[in-house]
Symmetry: C2
Amino acid sequence: MTKKTIAVLPGDGIGPEVTTAAINVLETIADKYDHHFTFQQGWIGGSAIDEKGDPLPRETKEMSAESDGILLGAVGGPKWDRLPGAERPEKGLLEIRKSLDLYANLRPVKAYASLIESSPLKEAIVANVDFLIVRELTGGLYFGEPKKREDIRGETQAIDTLLYKASEIKRIAERAFQAAQLRNGKVVSVDKANVLESSRLWRETVDDVHASYPDVELEHMLVDNAAMQLIAQPAAFDVMVTENTFGDILSDEASMLTGSLGLLPSASLGSTGVGLYEPVHGSAPDIAGENRANPLAAISSAAMMVKYGFKMEKEAEKIETAVEKVLADGYRTADIAPKMEEAVTTTEMTDAVIKAL
Amino acid sequence: MTKKTIAVLPGDGIGPEVTTAAINVLETIADKYDHHFTFQQGWIGGSAIDEKGDPLPRETKEMSAESDGILLGAVGGPKWDRLPGAERPEKGLLEIRKSLDLYANLRPVKAYASLIESSPLKEAIVANVDFLIVRELTGGLYFGEPKKREDIRGETQAIDTLLYKASEIKRIAERAFQAAQLRNGKVVSVDKANVLESSRLWRETVDDVHASYPDVELEHMLVDNAAMQLIAQPAAFDVMVTENTFGDILSDEASMLTGSLGLLPSASLGSTGVGLYEPVHGSAPDIAGENRANPLAAISSAAMMVKYGFKMEKEAEKIETAVEKVLADGYRTADIAPKMEEAVTTTEMTDAVIKAL
Ligand SMILES: CC(C)[C@H](C(=O)O)[C@@H](O)C(=O)O
Ligand SMILES: CC(C)[C@H](C(=O)O)[C@@H](O)C(=O)O
């Protein structure tokens, strides 16, 4: 019997509903495979601000650091939009990523055959989409200093700093090449090397790292072109690696391709130790508490935790297969239902997955 | 008889071919409407580096500043990719934008009924797409200082600076609201205010400016969400305004929606004086010199020059109608031809437009 402690950080909006769904699935898996999962809840984001006056209270940070895996819901919402930068819900997310050095954000994008019809793109374009975005998560514009507002000769200006060290680029490039070795052996590295100094260092460093992975094919692509190619020929990608801000934009763009934003999981990993697993979608405050959210992204994030964090391949596959089955069986939450009347609730969808396990 | 001097900067790759096409169209217009256009050619980009050792030679800068309008082809190519930042082709483009203070980049995105089939998106999604992206063009990461590489304790790092002054945001916001007044009265302002200081100043300043345009509806959208909405419901946009880097990425993403990248023009305008008009597409070195490039984006850019720069509404409309006619008549260059055998050449397409005038 394997024991694991899981830190659950529901966060805001639909976060609590979808993490509850994922917990239920994990408990079923534990029963089935004779594991013992202990769940510890912690505050993060807007609800942490409301309860504890801090988007990432010390207890949450400690508890997460000591856990075997962190399952996060979502953070943020209009309620906290007027707060200054350092006191916002998102700050909790940025801080936990940074303090646990979770520099590698993995976002798989895959077309589910049964959902292709709900894609805004033509079926021929998206049918074979199956790639992985590797986003650098603890550097760049999100964290660089100076990051401030100031008055210069009576005028307000604001500054953010895009800074990358070679070592930060090296380690994320290694992740990307390693991921490609387990997939189709192709990496596209995205930058804006025709304009940015940081991108030129990015490109050089990725080239250097590439020398140790001769079995992997490497292509450099400018970010504006990448934004086009994701739409024009998304099926051509295998692994895409890029810096924090570009990764934020491109991975959300990519999440729209297959018509399945509500299904996309992500994993944020460090060099060793605990990882953080969360849906790609946001906190969707407009439907919070209505039992309408799609729990599949959170459930798939739990599958990623079980796979990458606990090395339980079989269990992860079991969850993934269950998700595919409920979709093939026609279960649809409101976000992916062609007709509203036919939409199932969050709990109905979760129960269906559990039944399929 | 109106006299205008037009600076033509063909640049690299297919730039010379498509600017030649635009010149031919402008000469026909001049004949027809009894104007006198004088064309002066200047070096820019990679070819300027090769010929003059400088991506923006002084002669080009002076000649452009004194002209009534600048028609640019495209710059850049793999040949110059290994040069250091300050000596690259793109530097010529950045410098001419900056030195003429061309801070407002207008990129219309419109579905041509006759081309919708070549869009990667479903017809229902793109049919009514008709919006304008207003991109800030002389601030942000492209120009902020420090912008450099340095060694800190034996490790290389690189820095770019995202800096915006309130006045820079104010003037681009004004452009956007004014553009919206002439369109459908809706502005979406895109930022990353949940993470970036510059975006928070952006949002506040746009709100301030909005107070003077109560007839225009304003919505703020995070850049990652904007990247999704452009795909999910592009027809919902009217005017989108955003900072330089986000604008680069989102406008190229948008250029893919309607299946007509080879048709999209852009205008870069300053507070007063001369504007720069160029296709959204790049220099396409792979097909340079083969008489295969689509000249319609350059021709439409000429139409924008005539309209915004010379206030010749009638003449602009004439060109636009001719472009629509040749498309409706089935003329297709290789980029938009469903079958290669049916593709027309650059010169055939240009002649068709001239005939339609
Ligand atoms: C909430 C926000 C700070 C976050 C980010 O930009 O990293 C989110 O958009 C994401 O992609 O995980
Ligand atoms: C060539 C490059 C510097 C330029 C930019 O990023 O501004 C181009 O991509 C554009 O969008 O006009």
